[in-house]
Structures are given as structure tokens and as C-alpha cells.
């Protein structure tokens, strides 16, 4: 019984990471996952909590990204609420970009 519950949570987590991989940066064709903005995903029953950072404290797209994340997660079957915590520690650096993210940015002429 306990094992089944754990399995359920694991599946939910995977789905959430997958959904986050579909949330795009509002300006560049790169997902927020490939940007390395997601620090943690926690689930509790039907509630999801995300720790997320931004590349800069003056990021102009903060509201848009938070709105997109919440909308995406709340549309998932079995999710009733999604909370987004903005965290600044550890600070984002280019090292957090995935390989795929790096390739996208380079193809747009952005040095990484």
C-alpha cells in the first residue's frame, strides 16, 4: 500500500517536470527547464509547489513566466493548485543551462 502511494507521487512528479519542459521563455525559443530555472518540485496530494528562480532580479518576464507555470500545472489532471515560490539562492548562472538550452542560445547568436 505504502509502495503504491510512493509510485503515485513519483508519476505525478515526472508529469510535472514534463509539463515544465513545455513552458517556454516568453522571448526565446527555449523552455524554462532548459534555462535551468526550476530548483525543486514538491507534490502533496493534489497540490504542487515549485521553487523557481530567474536569470536576473530585474527580469522583465517574471510575471509572465509565473502565470504560464501556474496555468500549465493547474491544467494537469489531478492537480488542484500550483504554488510558485521565487527563490534567489543559489543564484542562477549559465552553468544551469542544459546542453539543449546551450545549443538553442548559441544558434541565436547569444554567447553562453
Amino acid at each position: 500500500m505504502l509502495l503504491i502511494l510512493c509510485m503515485n507521487t513519483m508519476i505525478e512528479n515526472a508529469k510535472i517536470w514534463q509539463a515544465l519542459g513545455e513552458v517556454m521563455d516568453p522571448e526565446l525559443p527555449i523552455s524554462i527547464l532548459d534555462m535551468g530555472l526550476i530548483y525543486d518540485v514538491r507534490t502533496n496530494q493534489q497540490n504542487v509547489e515549485i521553487d523557481l528562480t530567474f536569470t536576473a532580479i530585474a527580469c522583465p518576464a517574471m510575471t509572465m513566466i509565473i502565470d504560464d507555470v501556474r496555468e500549465k500545472l493547474e491544467a494537469l489532471p489531478g492537480v488542484s493548485s500550483a504554488q510558485v515560490n521565487v527563490v534567489w539562492n543559489p543564484p542562477w548562472t549559465k552553468a544551469r543551462l542544459t546542453m539543449q538550452g546551450r545549443e538553442v542560445l548559441q544558434s541565436l547568436g547569444i554567447a553562453v
Partner: protein, 313 residues
């Protein structure tokens, strides 16, 4: 540069898909038309900066004000791209920035108006930046001048962000209702018609069109106006904001609900819909420039007694 008598040949080559890369490929006519359209783009981007700056002071949160600053920075970058391309054609960037009097800048009349509150700020993003995207994505798709066409990849991406900023805030203000929605409606009331004019003379009045014949752009003024309305009219309708235009399902196009163009009271920022005028009168109004023309250009040029104190920094 090619001699003027090669003009017809160049137009033909362009019609067959030729991409102009350097001055050697151009005739004087092509170069002159290119300089005009690039100057309009650069000036429009440039003057949006002071206009947005004033409006940003009314931002509801620090983050939303920062978002406008980021937009301003993008716009200045876009102006730099256009001026940089003009520099390659022998036009001095120094002169473009500092050598011209305020009335000599070629931005549209809409950017000679004061943006006085947050609602006007976000409608500027939703309407003016939408106009910018409409014009520039056409250039990006169709333009015969290679260096400009390529430079617009970055510009287009950034303009999409500005647009989204505008549209999401327009939705938010409409949803809030009350005073917020009323301010939004007031902004739309003057900013919708001013953007309709932005696309210029209707096709049936236009006798010749170098910009189209040299394929500096691909769509006509009326086509571009339709593209713009096809985005802005449904957006406003979906959030309960009135606009003086609707979709005519018989003709399958957007229809302007007044005798376009009409008289404008710039001081009151109010359109006098029952007073139709000619396009000659519109051009006259544009030529006289609007109320903020001097202030905005002074800010950019750092005029000594201007808004930014010029060299007194």
C-alpha cells in the same frame, strides 16, 4: 551604385527574388526608398523610449516598472540596429540622433502624444507594438534588402515580448473592472484610431509605391491595417472593450465603423468621429507634429534645459 537607368531592370530582378546586399546592387531610387523606410523604423523605435519612460512612472509595481525599462532598452537597441544599417549606406548616426530638429524625425504621429498612465502604457504595448510587429514581420518575410531582413530576427522576438506584456496587462485591467477598466477604455478610445492612421494612405488613393515595387515590404497599407485589426479587434471584443471597427462576415474583412480618417483633438486626445477629413489634412497634422514631439526629442538629445537637463548631468 547602379545608374538610374538600371532601375526597371533592378525592379524586375527583385520581383524574381533577387536579394540586395550592398550599395553596388542598388540604384539611387532603391537607396533613397530604403533610407526612408529605415529612418522611419529607427525613429519609431527611438521615440518610443521617452514615451514609455514617462508612462512607466505610473506602473503599479516595481516589477512592472522594470518590465517597461527592459522594453525601453530593447527599443533603443532596435533603433541602433536601424541606424547602424543606415550608417552602412553613408548616413551619419550622429546626425540621425543629434543633427535633426524634433519635427524632422519620421516616427508616426501616435508617438507624438503623451502616454500619461499605466493603461495608456499597456495599450501602447498592445496596439503600437502590434503595429510594429505587423510592419516588421512583413519586412522580415518579404524584404529585398538582405542585411535588414536578417537583422530583424532578434527585433521580432523582442517585440513579441512587448506585445505580450501589453496584451496580458490589457486583459488584467479589463478583468479588474471599475476604474481600471474605464481607464483602459479611455486609452483604447484614442489609441485605436491613431494606430489605424499609422498604416497610412488607403491603397485606392496611393498612386505609386516604391516600397512595394522595390519589395522593401510585401503587403500594402490596407493589407497591413487588416492584419493589425485581425489581432486587436478580437482581443478587445474578448475583454469587453469597445473599438470602432468590426469583422464584416460577408466581405470577410475588418470594417472601420466611421468615415476614416477624421479630425483629432490632440490636446484632449479625442477623435471627432462626426468630422471626416481628407488624407491631405491628415498629412498636414502629422507634419505639424503632436504635443510631445519637442519634449521627447529633447530628452533623447539631452537638450540643456530639457526634461533631462542635458549636459548638466
Amino acid at each position: 551604385m547602379l545608374p538610374p537607368e538600371k532601375d526597371a531592370e533592378l525592379r524586375q530582378k527583385i520581383a524574381n527574388g533577387f536579394i540586395v546586399e550592398t550599395e553596388e546592387d542598388m540604384t539611387p531610387g532603391y537607396k533613397a526608398a530604403l533610407e526612408v523606410i529605415l529612418t522611419v523604423q529607427g525613429d519609431t523605435e527611438l521615440v518610443s523610449a521617452p514615451a514609455y519612460y514617462f508612462a512607466s512612472k505610473d506602473a503599479p509595481t516595481i516589477n512592472s516598472r522594470l518590465a517597461v525599462y527592459a522594453i525601453i532598452q530593447d527599443e533603443l537597441g532596435h533603433a541602433n540596429i536601424a541606424y547602424r544599417l543606415l550608417e552602412d549606406l553613408g548616413v551619419s548616426k550622429q546626425w540621425l540622433m543629434y543633427g535633426r530638429a524634433p519635427h524632422e524625425f519620421k516616427h508616426p504621429y501616435g508617438f507624438d502624444q503623451a502616454l500619461e498612465n499605466w493603461a495608456e502604457m499597456v495599450v501602447a504595448n498592445g496596439f503600437f507594438d502590434r503595429a510594429g510587429i505587423t510592419l516588421l514581420s512583413d519586412v522580415h518575410k518579404n524584404c529585398s534588402y538582405g542585411p535588414w531582413q536578417r537583422a530583424l530576427t532578434k527585433v521580432d522576438r523582442e517585440e513579441v515580448l512587448h506585445l505580450r506584456h501589453g496584451e496580458s496587462w490589457m486583459k488584467r485591467l479589463a478583468k479588474a473592472g471599475g476604474a481600471a477598466k474605464e481607464a483602459l477604455q479611455r486609452a483604447v478610445d484614442w489609441m485605436f484610431p491613431v494606430t489605424l492612421e499609422w498604416f497610412g494612405l488607403p491603397d485606392h488613393l496611393k498612386k505609386h509605391n516604391d516600397q512595394l515595387e522595390y519589395r522593401l515590404k510585401g503587403l500594402t497599407n490596407d493589407q497591413l491595417r487588416q492584419v493589425w485589426m485581425s489581432a486587436t479587434v478580437p482581443l478587445c471584443e474578448s475583454i469587453g472593450i469597445r473599438v470602432p471597427a468590426h469583422f464584416d462576415s460577408d466581405k470577410k474583412e475588418y470594417h472601420i465603423d466611421y468615415e476614416f480618417p477624421v479630425e483629432y483633438d490632440a490636446k484632449e486626445k479625442r477623435w471627432l468621429f462626426d468630422q471626416p477629413i481628407t488624407w491631405q489634412q491628415v498629412f498636414q497634422r502629422w507634419k505639424q507634429r503632436g504635443p510631445m514631439n519637442q519634449t521627447y526629442i529633447n530628452m533623447i538629445q539631452g537638450e540643456k534645459n530639457g526634461a533631462f537637463g542635458g549636459l548638466n548631468w
